[in-house]
């Protein structure tokens, strides 16, 4: 019997759950504690934001909100590895990656607060907004990557999608197109084990989600998504490959959704407590904290001070969000087409009249 093809998928991990290094061959960036420290502080900032956002929703000051609790290493790893000219196509949860790229927390709140203006954010003007229809952003990223390739620009398009989203046909389409055209495209499958109530094993018979990339001939790797060093290293590698014209990659970042799916969800209905408890022992902050403290570059006092600073910054953002007046009714008409069609102009007048009557 001849063999037509063989494949091997690596698992990337540097930092154990206990915060100890598992291997000696650290990537360059990780040899500089200052770099790691800066990233860790970002992770803490996102955590502070997330906690506050959930609280805002609970008190009626925000609409449905999708928490990012537990995803901090994955998100900061992705965002920090990218260059500003690269394009990020997030799903609806990757605030950490977006903050690193310049999006403001107040903008995230505005969006979940029911205001499209949150999508006109301070991050790179070419970055994609939050994407609700699961997986579709992957194809937009592939299209962006195609634009970069055709224009010969040294830019990479990065899409994030969930374990659930790895089943979405658009995700496969993006993988296949990236392979067919050899695109500078990196797909991060953020496997947090749950798609609302559907567990990872019910999504697919595939042993890993990384292997989804084999269907398109992409480079595939599985990564400990709670290990910031691993995420960042894998991203660096994939981005470099893509930028050098060597094609696309699929990274499966294995992590855990520590929160409910969104504030509209109650995960206790479908998820055993023990699983969540166990996941807390593997979460990304603890191990990074242990590692950095071990290196002697971080302490409890410093953490307390930084957390206070985080809360101050978040409060500032929340206040800025709450101060945004509602959009005028005309906003729903004025951005649909570059030039308002006649038909729509009449409806816009109707809407203005109704406003005047109130």
């Amino acid at each position: 019997m001849r063999t037509a093809a063989t494949f091997e998928i690596d698992y990337v991990q540097y930092l154990g759950e206990d915060g100890r290094l598992l291997r000696e061959d650290l990537p360059d960036f990780a040899r500089d504690p200052k770099v790691l420290l800066a990233l860790f502080k970002q992770m803490l900032l996102v955590r502070a934001f997330d906690t506050k956002a959930v609280a805002l929703q609970r008190t009626g000051k925000l609409g449905t909100y999708a928490s990012c609790l537990g995803h901090e290493a994955a998100h900061i790893g992705i965002g920090s590895a990218m260059q500003i000219d690269d394009v990020l196509a997030p799903s609806y949860r990757e605030y950490g990656a977006q903050f690193v790229r310049g999006v403001k927390p107040r903008e995230v709140l505005l969006y979940w607060g029911g205001d499209e203006r949150g999508n006109h954010f301070s991050g790179p003007a070419h970055d994609y907004p939050w994407c609700v229809p699961i997986g579709t952003q992957c194809l937009h990223a592939a299209g962006a990557a195609l634009a970069f390739k055709l224009r010969d620009e040294p830019r990479v398009a990065v899409a994030c999608v969930g374990d659930g989203g790895s089943s979405k046909t658009d995700t496969y389409a993006a993988i296949n197109a990236a392979g067919a055209y050899g695109l500078p495209f990196v797909l991060c499958i953020i496997n947090n084990q749950w798609a609302i109530s559907v567990p990872r094993k019910a999504q697919t018979g595939a042993r890993t989600l990384a292997q989804k990339g084999l269907a398109g001939g992409l480079d595939c790797v599985q990564v400990d998504g709670n290990d910031l060093i691993a995420v960042r290293a894998a991203m660096d590698h994939a981005l470099k490959r893509a930028r050098a014209g060597h094609g696309g990659s699929v990274l499966e970042l294995v992590t855990y959704r520590l929160s409910d799916h969104t504030t509209a969800d109650d995960a206790r209905r479908y998820r055993p407590d023990e699983e969540v408890k166990a996941a807390w022992t593997r979460e990304p902050l603890v191990r990074m904290r242990t590692y950095l403290t071990g290196l002697g570059v971080w302490s409890e006092a410093e953490e307390l001070a930084w957390r206070e600073e985080c809360n101050r910054r978040v409060d500032e953002e929340v206040n800025a969000y709450l101060a945004v007046p509602p959009p005028p009714v005309t906003d729903m008409f004025d951005h649909l087409y570059e030039t308002l069609p006649l038909d729509l102009a009449a409806q816009r007048e109707e809407a203005i009249e109704w406003e005047a009557r109130r």
Binding site: G63, T64, Y92, Y111, W112, G113, G114, D115, E116, W130, V132, P133, I134, G135, G162, G164, G165, S167, K168, T169, A195, I196, S197, V198, A202, Q203, T204, A264, D265, R269, Y270, P326, P327, V329, D331, M332, F333, L336, D343, L344, Q347, R348, E350, A351, W354, E355, R357
Partner: protein, 332 residues
């Protein structure tokens, strides 16, 4: 003891669960599939408890892909099952259209009756619940131009129960659109008697003589309220709940307009090429001599339904309906 008199009052979403359970008990070929419909009972709880009660083989969580749900459903239906598929929100139905238009709606016709596709697609539909983007779409019109489909929308717990039973029992594919805004808005006694409602009639919910309000879904409630407001001014409005958009029971609408001479059509969807256009068109064709005033449409604007800070300004409202009625009455 008549069950009708002792039925507990339940919400529209509970009436859906009740209908599903009734028919699953009754017909072993009925099964439910969709994202999160299993242990979680659906994000709106429409399938709550069904997996426990009927087992994993009657209530299936699917991988997260609407194309998958649609295609599997067609496969199941053409091989002797009666699948009731759920799509999680209206805004995620578009990837299903290919299988609905090209296959579900056509298998019987394509094979001259050899293979049929008795399925139901349940779609939580419409706005008004302060939901995120893509969770509030009124996209019924695109189904109504597709030959081979039936398009149904309940507007009360009782009608939800009776129409869903009918949809499941129908030997052809039915798109069953559920106004989420009404899911928990009020309760009504719904006897669990397995009585289906007809899938080819409009319901006259309130009789009147001055104007006909034609509507469906969540706007039924707005129209009934508008009729109440108008009644206080001595204006008598008839309210027709279309209920089954396709095939359309135009006769009931026409009869009403013949009586009132005036018609206001109310729907959430964008105005242009919304399903209201079809009703207005039929009036233009068949009721020209009955109308004493031009037909009016009170609808969403021709823009995507905005996020919730502007949402209510997009939707029709009692005020807007009343104003339209007054306009038609100003004509004589």
């Amino acid at each position: 003891m008549s069950s009708a008199t002792t039925a507990p009052a339940i919400t529209l979403i509970e009436a859906i669960t009740q209908a599903l359970a009734y028919e699953m008990t009754n017909d072993p070929s009925v099964l439910v599939l969709g994202e999160d419909v299993g242990v979680n009972g659906g994000v709106f709880r429409a399938t709550a408890g069904l997996q426990l009660r009927f087992g994993m083989e009657r209530v299936l969580d699917t991988p997260l892909d609407e194309t998958t749900i649609a295609g599997l459903t067609v496969g199941l239906a053409t091989q002797g099952m009666k699948p009731v598929a759920e799509v999680q929100f209206d805004g995620f139905v578009y990837p299903m259209l290919d299988h609905l238009v090209c296959h579900a709606a056509r298998f019987r016709n394509r094979t001259r009756g050899r293979l049929t596709c008795p399925m139901v697609l349940r779609v939580p539909w419409g706005g008004g619940i302060r939901a995120p983007e893509h969770h509030s779409e009124a996209n019924e019109a695109m189904f109504t131009n597709v030959p081979g489909l039936r398009v149904v929308m309940p507007s009360s717990p009782q009608r939800a129960y009776g129409l869903l039973l009918a949809a499941i029992r129908d030997p052809d594919p039915v798109i069953y659109l559920e106004p989420k805004r009404l899911y928990r808005q009020y309760k009504e006694e719904v006897p669990d008697d397995g009585e289906a409602l007809p899938l080819d009639v409009c319901f006259v919910l309130r009789e009147g003589s001055d104007v006909t309000l034609v509507t469906w879904g969540a706007q039924v409630k707005e129209c009934l309220e508008a009729a109440e407001t108008l009644a206080a001014e001595g204006i008598s409005a008839e309210v027709v709940d279309v209920a089954t958009l396709k095939p359309l029971d135009f006769d009931t609408i026409h009869e009403s307009v013949r009586k009132t001479g005036r018609c206001v059509i109310v729907h959430e969807a964008c105005r242009t090429a919304g399903f209201g256009a079809e009703i207005a068109a039929r009036l233009a064709e068949h009721a020209m001599y009955d109308l004493v005033a031009p037909v009016e449409r009170v609808t969403g604007y021709d823009v995507p339904i905005p996020l919730f800070r502007l949402e209510m300004k997009y939707l029709p409202s009692v005020e807007k309906i009343v104003a339209a009625v007054r306009r038609t009455l100003a004509v004589s």
